[in-house]
Symmetry: C2
Subunit: 343 residues, 2 copies
């Protein structure tokens, strides 16, 4: 691979000049630039990214930490990632997928992360990835609240989870539902805490006590019950235990689909017998399901884009005053999976 010296020699200029032609950090005369570019093309020269990084101390890459050993993205994740990639590319940044290996890496044998900052998805309480970033002085933006004891300030994007749950519950209550079951996300996810609290609070406000069978948390990813979550809980509660439930709130699209399947197997009609509400799901999937699913649109790709913008601001790439926490709008999209109950 040709190096900067080769180009400099052949173009009869100094390497500093060649550098300037490519980095465009200082002006160069048209004549010289032409010559340098011509020679570069001829030698197939391209600046070495690593060498440049060493001196500029910028890798032009951001990390995207995805859920632990994440085997199963939901469609929400996919769209979020799309948003991140696209927005990052606007600023010339690449995206490095960061996973935390299952088994703990031997601490001393790591190297520094070759990234300028990171977007952290699905933070958990006392998230070790976040602790690492914090210790390593790496700017980061989280999707959802950070709940690490040692960290007071952080930048994040999020939906307004308490309000989301309140809206959903009241939407259902307005339609006459009083027996509502909530299939929440995993208990470790910080979003699940807010949603749970708001679920309980809203129901109680309306004189509806929350019983054990009404609130569930998704099992851990490595659990054998993970994939089956919606199906299993629905069969158990509505089938085996024969509880009265007229509306189910599913945390994501997969859970919703598997719940739908369970209801079908129980010979329950949606929305005739049971209504189904999805918190975050891929738009195209919600529409094409039968019945199409009423859902809360969380705008995942907008969340992704916003998180990158906040990060770019922290990196000094994007100028201006940005808030510490950005709340992305969410709104209920009515389709055909929720019905009104006549009392």
């Amino acid at each position: 691979m040709a190096k900067i010296d080769d180009v400099a020699r052949l173009a009869k200029v100094s390497k500093g000049t060649v550098s300037n032609v490519f980095s465009q950090k200082r002006p160069t005369s048209d004549e010289v630039r032409e010559r340098v570019l011509r020679v570069s093309r001829q030698l197939n020269y391209v600046p070495n990214h690593t060498a440049r990084s060493l001196v500029t101390k910028k890798t032009m890459a951001i990390g995207l930490t995805i859920p632990h050993g994440s085997f199963f993205f939901s469609l929400f994740h996919t769209q979020f990632i799309n948003g991140v990639i696209l927005e990052a590319s606007y600023y010339g940044y690449r995206v490095l997928l960061d996973i935390i290996p299952e088994q703990q890496v031997q601490t001393p044998f790591l190297t520094s992360y070759p990234i300028d900052g990171a977007v952290v998805m699905s933070p958990t309480t006392n998230d070790e990835r976040i602790a690492l970033m914090h210790a390593g002085q790496i700017p980061f933006v989280t999707v959802g609240k950070v709940m690490n004891e040692e960290i007071a300030h952080f930048t994040s994007v999020d939906n307004d989870n308490p309000q989301i749950m309140r809206s959903i519950c009241e939407y259902l209550i307005d339609k006459g539902h009083t027996a509502i079951m909530f299939l929440n996300a995993n208990a470790l996810m910080t979003v699940s805490l807010d949603r749970k609290a708001s679920f309980i609070q809203t129901l109680e406000k309306h004189g509806l006590p929350v019983e054990a069978h009404m609130l569930h948390h998704k099992p851990a990813l490595n659990s054998s019950e993970y994939l089956d979550y919606g199906y299993a809980e629905t069969i158990r509660v509505l089938g085996t235990e024969r509880r009265k439930v007229t509306a189910i709130i599913a945390d994501d699209d997969r859970t919703a689909f598997s719940t739908l399947k369970a209801l079908k197997d129980l010979n329950l009609n949606v929305p005739g017998d049971v209504s189904l509400f999805v918190i975050c799901g891929d738009l195209s999937m919600m529409v094409q399901s039968d019945p199409s699913l009423t859902s809360m649109d969380l705008q995942p790709s907008e969340l992704g884009a916003q998180s990158v913008r906040l990060l770019m601001n922290q990196l000094g790439v994007l100028q201006g005053e940005f808030p510490e926490h950005v709340i992305v709008e969410s709104k209920i999209i009515e389709r055909n999976s929720v019905s009104t109950i006549s009392s």
Copy 2:
């Protein structure tokens, strides 16, 4: 950030020794290692990835090029990526998401890719990404055939596309279907060529001429019709044009779902009136759909893992003899969306 000299000084050893402790490329005495590690911890020292890369000429990252401006992954992509990430992590490699920006980047102002190799998804005919890799001497593995004129040899993983289409067609023909419509992938995708050829060939072999309304290609990603593909074609052919079609083969899960929706809107029962076969789709989605969808399991995450293994072999990380082209098994999974036609 502490550097190697700081550690060396405080631990009263040379920087070479510190380097050895971390790289483990040469033995060090227990005593010295202990001391070095202790001091490192104290100073919060970690080797600088970039500096190391500059001299070793390894970035310990592989690129994963995803479809152009890829806004909409299918579940196949998602699972493939999962396979890649997991397998790469086994070898200490990170994964850099590589997208080709919509507008052509100004060629001379690029830098070298900070990757040791790449996995290229969904290659197209005369794929420019591949041409770039080829020119840049970057080892790469493709998912599917490379069809660039200047490239004769390449490493790839793939399913056996001709056989897949043959199997599917004969599976349907065996069940009495003669009016089969194929919703193929985008015409530029190299997989679509094999599938198309095999589709036509197999039908003709069984005395079933392929007419225009039986074969369709997914519009380009930037097309407004992209999301609607399955729905629109189904409505047009079975509805507006009133063609007789008893079985539809959909290229991916999204297309299948939207086709399902179209059939419903046309008041056609699946599989009573029309059978539906999906080529590649997420397992959990296929199962939870109603009816559950009969599909060809392409093992996307296995494809991902294999592609990384081939790449690691090219990079010298993984020893042994590997074939140039790996074919991953695929098999039909019967569910409830295909019925037998009595003639």
